[in-house]
Each structure stands twice: as C-alpha cells, then as structure tokens.
Symmetry: C2
Subunit: 197 residues, 2 copies
C-alpha cells in the first residue's frame, strides 16, 4: 500500500494519465514541439513507464487520435439513431460539435484541426474517417429523400457543415468572443438554406 500512499499511479491508470497529458500538450503546443520528456515531467511518470505502454511517440499519438475519433463517431451514431430527417440530423451534429468545442477544446483542436498527416504518415486523411463519412451520408440521404435539392453530394456536405467548421476554427483561434452554441441557430439556418430544395 505504500505505493498508493505515495499517490503513485500504475497500470491502466498510468496509461490513461499519459494519454490525458499527451492530449493536453499535443493540442496546446503541437506534436513536434512536445517531447517525451515533456509528457514524462507533466504526468510525473518515468520514460520507461511510457515506453512500456506505448511502442513509440508516434504510436502514442495514433492511439490518442483513433480513440478520440471513435468517441466522436459514437456520438454521431447516437444522433443518427435518434433523428430521422436531414435538417434535424444536421442541426444535432452541428450542436454536438459546437458543444464539444466549448467543453473540450483540446479534443477538437487535436482531432479536427491538427495536421495528422505530418506525424501519422500512414493514417488515411481525416476526411475519409467515419465521422466525416457519416456527415456526408446525412446529406446524401437528404437528397434521395427530396429534402435537399439535387446536387453534387460533396458540395452539399461542405455547404451544410463547412460554415460550422470554420466557426469552430475561429473560436479555437480566439477570434470569437461568444461561445459557439450562441451561434447555433444562425449557422444551421445558413447551412440549411444553402442546400434546401
């Protein structure tokens, strides 16, 4: 019990602590400006412990990236189960992204805005990841259902969600003073007008 008494962290808890700190530093400083020693110092663990749980710095970043992407994907999945119509789905997705950006800016910074291809060379581009594919499908199904006018699906998807993503970008860069959800109605209305029949 002395180990626990000294508040040392071990096993799975240590692994998750390292992931937490890595997310914080990667999103704040970027992958290349963050050394393994930075993570070691902030997480108060040893280099050896980190390399016991992760094969390499790149594998650590990849694990973090895929885990967070999965989480977002699960939340989008839940929305698609709940909502049937294109407008309601789109609104719920934008709302989710806006809320997440406010609640966990680091997650959005790291997952959606970072240039993963520079440090995860073998990962497919994020636009082909499941959350983005689902978002495009929302629009494609809207076209089939006649809720969205006949148009190139890529254009429909970027028209619906592109403005929202730029707003997230501006918020994370400090350009927007007010929290994103306060813009939700206007942003969704713009996106919907853009694709409406």
């Amino acid at each position: 019990m002395t180990a626990m008494a000294r508040k040392q962290i071990r096993g799975e808890a240590l692994r998750e602590r390292v992931l937490d700190i890595a997310l914080e530093l990667f999103s704040k400083q970027g992958y290349f400006n963050t050394s393994i020693h930075d993570i070691r110092r902030q997480a108060q663990v040893s280099i050896g412990a980190i390399y016991h749980h992760f094969e390499s710095k790149e594998a650590l970043a990849r694990g973090l990236y895929l885990q967070l992407l999965d989480r977002i994907d699960a939340e989008i999945d839940a929305i698609l189960m709940e909502q049937e119509r294109c407008l309601a789905r789109s609104r719920a997705v934008v709302s989710l992204l806006f809320e997440l950006t406010e609640a966990e800016p680091q997650v959005m910074q790291f997952v959606l805005l970072a240039k993963h291809s520079e440090y995860l060379p073998d990962e497919p581009p994020i636009c082909s990841s499941s959350p983005f594919v689902r978002m495009r499908q929302v629009l494609e199904e809207g076209i089939v259902a006649g809720e969205v006018r006949q148009m190139e699906p890529w254009v429909a998807a970027t028209a619906m969600f592109g403005g929202a993503m730029r707003m997230m970008n501006l918020r994370l860069d400090g350009a927007l003073q007010k929290p994103l959800p306060s813009y939700l109605d206007e942003v969704v209305e713009c996106g919907w007008r853009a694709v409406l029949t």
Copy 2:
C-alpha cells in the same frame, strides 16, 4: 564567368531558389519534417549560403509565409477594385482560390492549411490576416447594402466561404477527383443562398 558556367546560382537568384525549395518541402512534408539539410541538398546550395540569406529556419518559413500571404492579398485587392457587388465579389474570390489551389496546390497547402502557430509562435492567427479580413468585409458591406440579410457578420462570412474552403481542403487531401473550378457554380450558389436576403 566560371561560376556561372558551372551553373552555380548566386545572390538574389539563390535566395529565391531556396524559397522555392522550402515551399515545396514544407508543403509536402511539413515544417518539422524538413531539415535545413534537406533544403540544402534539394536546392544544391550550401548551408552557409542559406544562413547568409536567412537568419534562421524559422525566419525562412516566416518570410515565405508573409510573401505568399501578400500575393494572395494583392489578388483579392484587385478583385475588390473590379467588382462592386457582394455576390460578384464573393464569386470572384472563390474562383481565385479554386484556380490557385489547382495551379499551385503547394501555396494553398502551406499558406491556408498549415498550422503556422506551431512554428511561427509570434505570428497572429491567419484568420486575422488581411485576406481573411477583406473576405469578411465583403459580407459586412453586403449586409449594409441590403444585399445580404441582417445577421452576425462572422456567420455570414463563414457561410459564404466556409463551404468553398472545405472543398479546397478535400481537393488537397485527394478526396475530390474533379478540379475545383468545375464545382464553382454550385459552391457559389450554396454560399449565396445561405446569406441571401
């Protein structure tokens, strides 16, 4: 004349050659994956020559960034002189961005899509740079003129240009098969519907 006979490059020509190669490598591999030695090798110049023209690797990247930003700004300036109305201006800007992305993908990759804050920590975020400010002003003036409906200017600008910028992103990531200009009409129509009175 022996130096020229050996096709050695000197002076201003060398400086520009270094900038060219730096753009190519930075945009293809990223800033941190590109070493000064990579640039030296590809440009066939010496380390000493590079450090004679540029104070540091960071200063080299900053010079490149500001130069390309200025160039885009000048082109947007020309559009604003030519066109008076909001729709025509917006269309011309999107057209310019699309053409530029096809003609010089590296420029757009490096200027618009890279995370400059990671290696140019003292530069202001790109959303506060002149081209982006002008693009927002186009929409603000459209609101004043009654061409665009009354709305939050940030939302209007992201609604008009956000979809186009996502399309550029998709094209640079290899997701879109057809060149961007073939989507111009649809993209501009979407943006305009989004903000139309």
